[in-house]
Amino acid sequence: MYSYKWYTYVLIIINLILEPYIEKWFSIGTAYPDVFLILFLVMSMGKVDKQVLIVSAVTGFIYDMLYSSFLGPITILFIARAFLLLLVSKWVTKDNLIVMSFAGFVLAFVSRIYTIIISVGIVDFFSHIGMFTGNILFSAIYTTSVITLITFIIWLIYNSSGRRSKRLLYGHTAKDI
């Protein structure tokens, strides 16, 4: 059974509180990082199971309660992401930086399209798609870059410190190791 470490929940709560400031503090031009995607992908590191699904659903629902105009859209997005991660978890591992980054890019790209559609409506999105292309692309690249960087750093630490670091970083039980 895969289990998140305690700091994952702390980071999720902090992120839920700071969500309105993230665009202001971390956006570069039109690029806007999907911090929740970064968090779930990096914290799961390929070891995805039903717990990710539950945590994603709860986080999405709290997000909706805080920031969405009606309940549901972000919950659905987060659950869908968790399902996708479950499907591709066979290939997405902490050791495979390229696959990890690619998965991050695809998810960030699709997520950004989805959030823009929720904001502006599906008709306006497709009638003004040129206006959003840069935002979607750069936001996905930004999110992917952060995922790649963090994964690389964790991979370096993991390889330099052995099993103990594996347990501490990814929350594996002794049995998993």
């Binding site: 839920l16 509180i17 700071l18 309105p20 400031y21 629902f61 709290i62 309660m65 805080l66 105009s69 009606f70 309940l71 549901g72 919950t75």
Partner: protein, 277 residues
Amino acid sequence: MKLLTNRKFQIIMIILVFVVVCVLSINRFSGVNIIRNIVTIPVTWIQKGINRIEDYFSELQYSRQLLADVLKENEELRLENEMLKEESAVLSSLQSENDVLRKALDLKDIFAGYEIIGANIMGSDPGSYVYKFKIDVGTAENVKEDMAVVAANNTLYGRVYSVNYTTSIIVPIIDEDAGVSGWISKENGGHVNIKGDIRYKDLGLCLIENVSNSVVLEVGDIVETSGFGGIYPKGILVGKITEVFYDEISMEQYGILTPYVDFNSISSVFILMEKTE
């Protein structure tokens, strides 16, 4: 009861409740939106705190930026001020030069028989006891020894002492080497000698001696050149008598003359050259 403990039934129920809640929440006046308060109230409190901290740092940054802008503006204004001061000094210098030249034009009217050459005083002659000054004209401009040197307002400065090709040394009337034949400019005026004296030259004064018997010296008398000495033309103002005394032994009148020229501040003079046919 068995149905309630069924895992699949539980999941289906959760999904159903979720869907119902989501659909109801689309209506913004729906009572179901009350459940948002569970998280919005505590999170809003924390966000208010974050806003305050953010405002504090924003103001701090703004203040620093403002200070930097003010300092920059101050520096620019300081430079501008210095530039204006320099311009003002140049204008003032031009004004003063203009005044001098205007007075020089007046001199040309007064001394019609003379050619007038303007000269700048470059400094004192280091070989003398500071009362000989160097000017920037010399034999190249036809300057010769013993030519009269006057200031712009028709007042006597002294004479040319020595000449080089491009510079000359002039001696003011307060120097012991200078001697001027003067005339007391009043109704019963007469001839006097004006001489530099070691006792008075530090004060910028001259001695009046060899006073004609017919003349009674008085404080306030104006002295001008008599034209008898051969160096200075007649009618150049020399100064005013500020003190008169009588020597019992030689039974002669003496006077102390305060020249019109201020030898410490004057920077340009004019040399009178007699026109030759």
